[in-house]
């Protein structure tokens, strides 16, 4: 039987469904800047917080979606465990629900997995206000479709997340970081070479001036790797600055037409001379500050096995072009309709969507 405090959310969504009123699912609002503008009647999930179950030796935690990340991570740290995907907050009070909905991960992601990799189960409300439970609390689970993982990155458009079961990992015994001064192209080559060997890597980026390397694991393993790889010592705090984008590269005010772009693509892709690059995730993720025309950046990213997204601009976030081939777009829309037939959950947050349909239910 669902606990009573799900009832208020069920009622709110059911009512919105019956009226055809768009809902804007809100945690702390720390990700409002991301994606297309949020709109609709606020559905505040922020008060729905707390740990439901935590079994450290099972490597799983079940938590209510409104739980602040800080609170969740403190609970894990007390047991010397952590979320493998090292999520950024980008604002005070950031919740685990919003983090999962936006699928935001930090520097460790390339080595320890992303948000969706850590999702084992969820409890959610669909666009009719129906309460559902998918997945479970175990990693090996192939009963039914993987609806839980589908929620990662869906930005609340497929369901209101109420509870999440997440895989957690032990904190490494020790962490040690190094800095090697070199240009971006050289840095990228070195990163790719490091990835070809079984080093205990937990972070690999280039900040425009130097290659930054984080090693994590047993003390003996980390120290031996550091001796072999070489470099000046780097404070562990550097990775927090990278995660939260308070690093000087991101702190520069964007003037005029300059924009911050986020690219996900083949890690050994080159670095065209278009502006300033920050390379993360061992090359898989690139940040670019440039005033280059968007169409060229989108096309280049696609040619290198990935995509580009305008992340921040001086004026506004800007519209991400809908580059989906027609068949894929139609499938996404059918999938959305399967979860939210009246289109009331965070409409337009991912892609431009039609207005809620008054005739369907």
């Amino acid at each position: 039987m669902p606990p009573d405090h799900h009832q208020q959310f069920r009622d709110a969504v059911r009512s919105a469904h019956d009226r055809g009123t768009p809902l804007c699912i809100r945690g702390a609002g720390s990700k409002d800047f991301l994606g297309r503008p949020p709109r609709g009647e606020p559905l505040d999930v922020g008060e729905h917080r707390g740990i439901v179950d935590y079994a450290p030796t099972e490597l799983v935690i079940t938590v209510r979606a409104g739980t602040p990340l800080d609170e969740l991570e403190a609970e894990l740290a007390a047991q010397r465990q952590m979320l493998a995907f090292e999520p950024p907050r980008f604002g005070a009070g950031a919740t685990i629900g919003g983090t999962v909905a936006c699928a935001l991960a930090g520097p460790r992601r390339a080595f320890a997995g992303g948000v969706r990799d850590a999702l084992l189960g969820c409890r959610l409300l669909d666009g009719r206000g129906e309460l559902m439970h998918f997945g479970g609390e175990v990693m090996k689970n192939v009963a039914g479709y993987d609806v839980s993982r589908l929620m990662a990155g869906a930005m609340g458009t497929l369901g209101v997340l109420l509870e999440l079961s997440l895989r957690v990992v032990p904190c490494p015994e020790t962490s040690l970081s190094l800095r090697q001064q070199c240009g971006a192209t050289e840095g990228l080559q070195r990163m790719r070479a490091l990835c070809r060997r079984p080093w205990p890597l937990a972070g690999l980026c280039h900040d425009g001036e130097a290659l930054l390397i984080r090693l994590a694991g047993s003390a003996a393993g980390v120290e031996a790797a550091a001796r072999a790889i070489g470099g000046e010592p780097l404070d562990e705090d550097a990775w927090t600055a990278i995660r939260e984008q308070t690093h000087p590269f991101f702190a520069d005010t964007l003037a005029g037409d300059a924009a911050l772009w986020r690219l996900d693509l083949a890690p050994a892709s080159p670095l065209p001379a278009w502006g300033r690059w920050f390379i993360d995730w061992a090359g898989y993720r690139r940040w670019l500050i440039t005033d280059r025309e968007p169409a060229a950046i989108h096309a280049w990213a696609e040619n290198h096995g990935g995509h580009a997204r305008l992340f921040r601009r001086a004026q506004d976030t800007g519209e991400a072009p809908d580059a989906r081939p027609p068949a894929l777009r139609a499938l996404h829309q059918r999938l959305k309709a399967a979860f939210d037939p009246r289109g009331i959950l965070n409409p337009g947050r991912l892609y431009a969507e039609p207005e809620p349909n008054p005739s369907r239910s």
Binding site: G113, M132, L150, S218, P325, A327, L331, L335, A337
Partner: protein, 506 residues
């Protein structure tokens, strides 16, 4: 669980082709001839026979037709043709599946991906292997080895199972505790949907925009789309790997040792438990050096750089001693490591020698419930008079009870299946799931009614309909209809309230 009348009767599956739309076999063959050559269309009984079942051999049905395309364009045309004539389509890799996922469907086509067996590209710089779905799991690692790389998920059938099938079942393997399942190692897919469209999912980056259809395809058991190309991530080969075998006089103690290892912050590369029956059968078969008198053995593998392994190994051995391990044997070289694993890897055929037949179960439980579940299984074994050997992926709670039986004994298959169903329900009772890695297929479809409620099952059907509105891809598998749940009575009645009260019962 559906009871076949005899060993060779497949369970009744819902008819999907509407009678008025049913095309005759000669007409279908003629239409297929416009897409691919005659020798790629099988219709004679002796040619169809090898496709009548997968590795769940108790369920067989001769397919209506089998096609073996070579190209993506052929697959697209075949799918579109099937949709036009409302002919169901079942994709098949190597047919090693253990849940009947590739069991032929009434008046349906088997689409074999066996000829899609080329490795298209090994891109070491980008740590990527791009392959066709019919390539075996092991072939990918073999090809990557020259670059000092490998593909981590290693199901025990990896010498034969195909990567397309691995995606369909989200396969794991002994190393998945540390390195993840197929979904954690998958970069991209090309799929053909039932209307013949070709979709590209994922890419060469680690994140893709929009809905995570790549993750949704993993474990979708051939129900959402036909996989025609797979790109996987490659990892650097570990510098060193060592395995420790520890014996215990009590299986619960072995389970506690596992919790202690995880609790100490160690994530081993492999962590397996075998109970007495499994380990003694394995020892007879493979002479791996297992102590026959042990109640259970634990195999724990560590990998990484030489320094990492040495450091963790010291910690591991100390933990095992503290937890009451009897004999602790650590592999001194690669040959010994292989030998210690040989018994575990041969567990199924080894156990298979103990009886004319065996039925391999697959459930996942929270690790802390291991002792309770094993004693529950032992009690059921007494009740049914059927011995059970247990092999346990201790790291992730995935349990494989192997029920020994003789199909030639009257009613023994039915009793075995009933026993198996009760084991799955026990897994659910302790908060687990009915399938860790083998999939639901036809085998566990009734237990889906116990694991999920009406709302979830309806959502699964709606999701499937978004991909395949006519329900032609692998119909009758994996997700039961609500009517089936009501009819087969697998729902439990709580508080005298019948579930699905709105459905008529006969």
């Amino acid at each position: 669980m559906a009871m076949p009348e005899s060993m060779n009767d497949a369970p009744a599956l819902p008819e999907t082709a509407r009678p008025e739309a049913r095309i005759s076999r000669p007409a279908m063959i003629a239409a297929l001839r416009r897409i691919l050559p005659a020798e790629r269309i099988l219709h004679e009984d002796e040619d169809l026979r090898p496709y009548e079942c997968d590795a769940l051999s108790a369920y067989r049905r001769l397919p209506w037709l089998v096609v073996l395309p070579d190209t993506t364009e052929q697959v697209q045309a075949i799918a579109a043709l099937c949709q036009r004539h409302q002919v169901p389509l079942v994709a098949r890799g190597a047919g090693t599946g253990l849940a009947g996922g590739a069991l032929p469907v009434e008046h349906g086509l088997i689409l074999s991906l066996a000829r899609f067996n080329r490795i298209l590209d090994i891109d070491a710089d980008n740590a990527l292997a791009r392959v066709q779905p019919g390539v075996t799991n092991l072939a990918i690692s073999d090809a990557a080895r020259d670059y000092g790389l490998y593909y981590a998920p290693d199901p025990s059938s990896q010498i034969a199972c195909t990567i397309g099938g691995n995606v369909a079942e989200n396969s794991g393997g002994i190393h998945c505790l540390k390195y993840g399942l197929t979904v954690h190692n998958l970069q991209a897919l090309k799929i053909v949907t039932m209307d013949g469209e070709l979709l590209q999912l994922g890419g060469q980056g680690l994140e893709s925009p929009g809905y995570d259809l790549l993750a949704l395809m993993c474990g979708s058991e051939g129900m959402l789309g036909i996989i025609v190309e797979v790109s996987v991530r490659l990892l650097p080969l570990p510098q060193r790997a060592e395995v420790v075998m520890a014996s215990f006089d009590d299986v619960a103690r072995a389970g506690d040792a596992v919790s202690a290892i995880i609790g100490a912050g160690i994530i081993p590369a492999g962590l397996e438990i075998m109970d007495h029956l499994a380990l003694s059968a394995a020892e007879d078969f493979a002479a791996a050096g297992y102590p026959r008198d042990a109640a259970a053995i634990l195999l724990c593998e560590l990998d990484g750089t030489a320094e990492e392994v040495a450091a963790q190994m010291a910690q591991l051995e100390e933990l095992l001693r503290q937890r009451g391990a009897g004999r602790i044997q650590r592999s001194r070289d690669e040959a010994e490591r292989q030998r210690l694993w040989a018994g575990r890897k041969a567990a199924f055929p080894a156990v298979g020698r103990l009886a004319p037949d065996y039925y391999c179960m697959d459930g996942t439980i929270p690790r802390r419930a291991l002792a309770r579940v094993l004693s529950g299984i032992a009690a059921l074994s007494e009740e049914y008079g059927l011995p059970v050997a247990n092999v346990f992926h201790a790291g992730d709670g995935n349990l494989h009870p192997l029920i020994l039986y003789d199909a030639n004994r009257e009613g023994e298959l039915a009793r075995t299946e009933e026993f198996g169903a009760r084991i799955l329900e026990l897994c659910l009772e302790v908060g687990g799931t009915i399938t860790g890695e083998h999939g639901v297929g036809v085998e566990k479809i009734d237990q889906m009614c116990v694991q999920f409620g009406r709302a979830e099952l309806a959502q699964f059907h709606a999701l499937k309909a978004a991909f395949d509105g006519d329900g032609l891809l692998n119909p009758g598998k994996a997700v039961p209809t609500l009517h089936r749940c009501a009819e087969f009575g697998a729902m439990h009645v709580h508080g005298n309230r019948l579930p699905f009260p709105e459905l008529e019962r006969f």
